[in-house]
């Protein structure tokens, strides 16, 4: 963090859907941006710079979105930056925007992240065969499923924990009008009965494929103090590591642990489970809830699943996780990380509607990407950091 305080004063998102054939990518971004600006009670004229993030280029076949989006993002005559960090891009994009404010470079920054999964095929894009190498790759699920199996073996978790996460997040989504999946009938039993896609990951334990966007307005303290309900940014952290290395821990990655340690230190937090009131964690496959609870330090290694099993990650639990429905209920990949950061901000602003955690004062936003190799997190609070 730089020495200037920064806060989120505007949050906007689209109603995430399987297909938004009525709008272009520019139009999709604008829905989120216009809502964020209205929430902030600002206009494009008040914005100093724009930071945009999206999913990896092959996912949409758009190599340089900033070229064609400049007008739609209101960036004419202003600095426009693009951020890339695979699936964590929404989180790191928000951090780049907040850094421009905390470094004192700009006072009011607009940031947006988006994806139209309906215009491409992410599974194909993640599985393009490479010469000389065995073509066993099968999308993100195929990549992460073996590591989920490793987690289950290492932790000794009962095999229904993943289904508990999926059922919880789908029920939470019913309280979020923006969430893509609205399936009132999802239960632990129905998740367990769904088709095994990438054993041990079932169909109902995977994220949907969504079109959607998210935008934030991040400002300096002077602007934030006159805003209705700022979410003050207490800490931000990003860490990276190689995709593959000898003896690399793919279940509890080192970069994730380092990221969490830096984040909690910066935020002055010594016991995350006691000091964080709501967490929005990037969980594209259900088992990543207990895995990231451990990686983030909410639980000891091997015991994250006990929090899930005891109901402690429900909205009324000790550490509510993904009250918005999370990535398991809406996954416009490029925007999914920013949605986690945005939902954390909504919680501490008291603006999360039906999925509000009572009295939330400090919240975590988390994103990861690549082969669990990019991590981005922030802590936001209802009051400025002390």
């Amino acid at each position: 963090m730089g020495k200037e305080l920064a806060a989120v004063i505007g949050v906007g998102q689209t109603h995430h859907r399987a297909k938004r054939e009525d709008v272009s990518m520019a139009g999709l971004c604008r829905e989120a941006i216009d809502r964020a600006l209205a929430d902030a009670q600002l206009t494009f004229d008040d914005i100093d710079a724009v930071v945009v993030g999206k999913a990896p280029d092959l996912f949409e076949g758009v190599m340089m979105p900033e070229l064609y989006l400049a007008e739609a993002l209101g960036a004419v005559g202003k600095p426009l930056l693009r951020v890339h960090t695979a699936g964590s891009v929404g989180g790191s994009t928000a951090i780049v925007a907040s850094s421009l404010v905390s470094a004192g470079v700009h006072r009011r920054v607009l940031t947006v992240a988006f994806e139209k999964q309906s215009e491409s095929n992410a599974m194909w894009a993640l599985s393009v065969p490479v010469p000389f190498v065995m073509p066993v790759h099968a999308g993100a699920g195929g990549y992460f499923a073996p590591h989920v199996r490793s987690y289950i073996r290492r932790s000794g978790a009962p095999t229904h924990i993943g289904a508990m996460v999926a059922a919880k997040d789908r029920q939470n989504a019913l309280k979020n009008p923006y969430a893509h999946l609205q399936n009132p009938d999802t239960t632990v039993e129905s998740v367990l009965a769904s088709q095994m896609l990438w054993d041990p990951i079932r169909y109902d334990e995977t994220c949907p494929s969504s079109d959607g966007a998210c935008a934030l307005v991040i400002t300096d303290a002077d602007t934030a103090r006159s805003a209705a309900a700022p979410a003050w940014i207490h800490a931000t952290a990003m860490r990276s590591e190689p995709t593959t290395a000898a003896e690399r821990d793919q279940v509890n990655p080192l970069a994730g642990r380092a990221n969490a340690a830096a984040l909690w230190k910066q935020a002055g937090i010594t016991s995350p489970i006691d000091e964080i009131d709501a967490a929005e964690i990037y969980v594209p496959f259900s088992w990543f809830e207990p895995m990231w609870l451990e990686n983030l330090g909410f639980a000891e290694e091997g015991s994250g699943w006990k929090l899930t099993e005891a109901g402690e990650t429900r909205i009324d639990g000790r550490i509510p996780v993904n009250c918005s429905g999370g990535v398991l209920s809406s996954n416009p990949i490029g925007a999914s990380g920013m949605l986690r950061f945005a939902e954390a901000a909504l919680q501490v602003r008291g603006m999360a509607g039906e999925h509000q955690v009572d009295g939330a004062r400090r919240a975590l936003g988390h994103a990861y990407g690549g082969g669990s190799q990019f991590f981005a997190t922030w802590v936001v609070g209802a009051t400025p950091p002390s």
């Binding site: 938004r20 054939e21 009525d22 709008v23 272009s24 520019a26 139009g27 604008r30 494009f44 092959l58 949409e60 076949g61 007008e71 739609a72 209101g74 139209k116 309906s118 215009e119 491409s120 095929n121 599974m123 194909w124 894009a125 599985s127 393009v128 065969p129 490479v130 010469p131 000389f132 190498v133 065995m134 073509p135 066993v136 790759h137 099968a138 999308g139 699920g141 195929g142 499923a145 073996p146 590591h147 199996r149 490793s150 073996r153 290492r154 088709q195 095994m196 896609l197 990438w198 054993d199 041990p200 990951i201 190689p242 593959t244 290395a245 000898a246 003896e247 690399r248 821990d249 279940v251």
Partner: protein, 320 residues
């Protein structure tokens, strides 16, 4: 150090684009042989219309049909056209200000030589015979001779449904090159050998070898010939079919830690029902007939159980 192996690679996909309400007007116009621009807040007419006004940032709502004849603002000569360009003979790319528009638009101008182009010359649209609401509905531009009868062009039509989406195929052909270190491994496969390399700093054995050890940043150098046996560390069973898939599901995609290696390779598990595959299972490589070998890991069909007792969890736990 060996020379890098290369192979042709092709990545192609038909992306779709929802065009939104503003570009829908322009593309529907093209299909109907009309040039539709949008009026900006400052009164200028832009062709094609931007979706959002660069000054007010609002979506464009006022649309204006402009003339199909215009003036060349500037141009460049394409002496050697490449596949995918609008014309297969030398042509000019021209920025043209259509009559009634205030912003120039780029398209191909069909003239016999660069001598036949000049800034300020008058040109007009030549429509493609079949149109679907894409930019190539304008086949190209052509000189507008003074004696040509513009009115003789086919009349515009306008009774079809609005264009709301287009297909934008991407087709990339390029040469993939493996690193020198990986090439050692792939060439070894052509001889039925599994060659790893040890990092000189951390002493871990990488298979395939690496141009840069991910931990130490230095190339692996010392060859280590590995046995054709190993342990399944973890795996998944792929039941889901998808576009571009090369192996029919269901199949077991496993991490196999070759004996003596410090990193697992991904391959198939064969000759055992998928639901009987276990973490720790001992396996051996199943090679194709020698006459089918090339410089590829596909020389190995997969790995099958050796029948040995499973490896202790502790022996591979640090590889998960």
């Amino acid at each position: 150090m060996t020379s890098p192996l290369t192979a042709p690679m092709r990545v192609s996909f038909d992306y779709t684009r929802s065009v939104g309400p503003v570009l829908s007007k322009f593309l529907t116009g093209l299909r109907d042989q009309r040039l539709i621009g949008g009026r900006l807040a400052d009164g200028r007419v832009a062709v094609p219309p931007p979706e959002y006004d660069p000054q007010t940032h609002l979506a464009l709502t006022e649309f204006v049909e402009v003339g199909q004849t215009g003036t060349v603002v500037t141009w460049s000569w394409v002496s050697e056209p490449v596949p995918g360009q609008p014309l297969d003979r030398p042509f000019a790319y021209a920025l043209v200000l259509f009559d009634g528009s205030d912003t120039p638009m780029l398209h191909a101008l069909d003239v016999p030589s660069a001598d036949a182009v000049r800034t300020g010359m008058r040109v007009r649209v030549r429509w493609a015979e079949e149109r679907s609401g894409v930019i190539t509905d304008i086949a190209c531009l052509e000189p507008a001779d003074a004696d040509a009868d513009v009115a003789a062009q086919a009349p515009a039509t306008g009774d079809g449904e609005a264009v709301t989406g287009i297909i934008t195929p991407v087709d990339l052909h390029y040469t993939y090159a493996a690193s020198s270190e990986e090439s050692t491994f792939f060439r070894g496969l052509a001889e039925g050998r599994l060659i790893g390399q040890r990092c000189p700093t951390c002493h871990k054995v990488y298979v395939p070898p690496r141009g840069a050890c991910p931990v130490d940043g230095v190339a692996t150098i010392e060859d280590v010939e590995l046995p054709h046996t190993g342990t399944v560390t973890t795996f998944c069973i792929v039941n889901v079919p998808f576009l571009g898939q090369r192996i029919d599901p269901p199949y077991v995609s496993a991490y196999v830690l070759l004996d003596g290696a410090d990193i697992a390779i991904q391959h198939l598990i064969l000759d055992i029902p998928a639901d009987e595959v276990r973490m720790g299972m001992r396996v051996e490589a199943v090679w194709r007939p020698r006459e089918e070998w090339g410089t590829t890991i596909e020389n190995i069909n997969g790995f099958r159980p050796t029948g040995e007792p499973d490896a202790d969890f502790a022996s591979f736990a640090q590889h998960l």
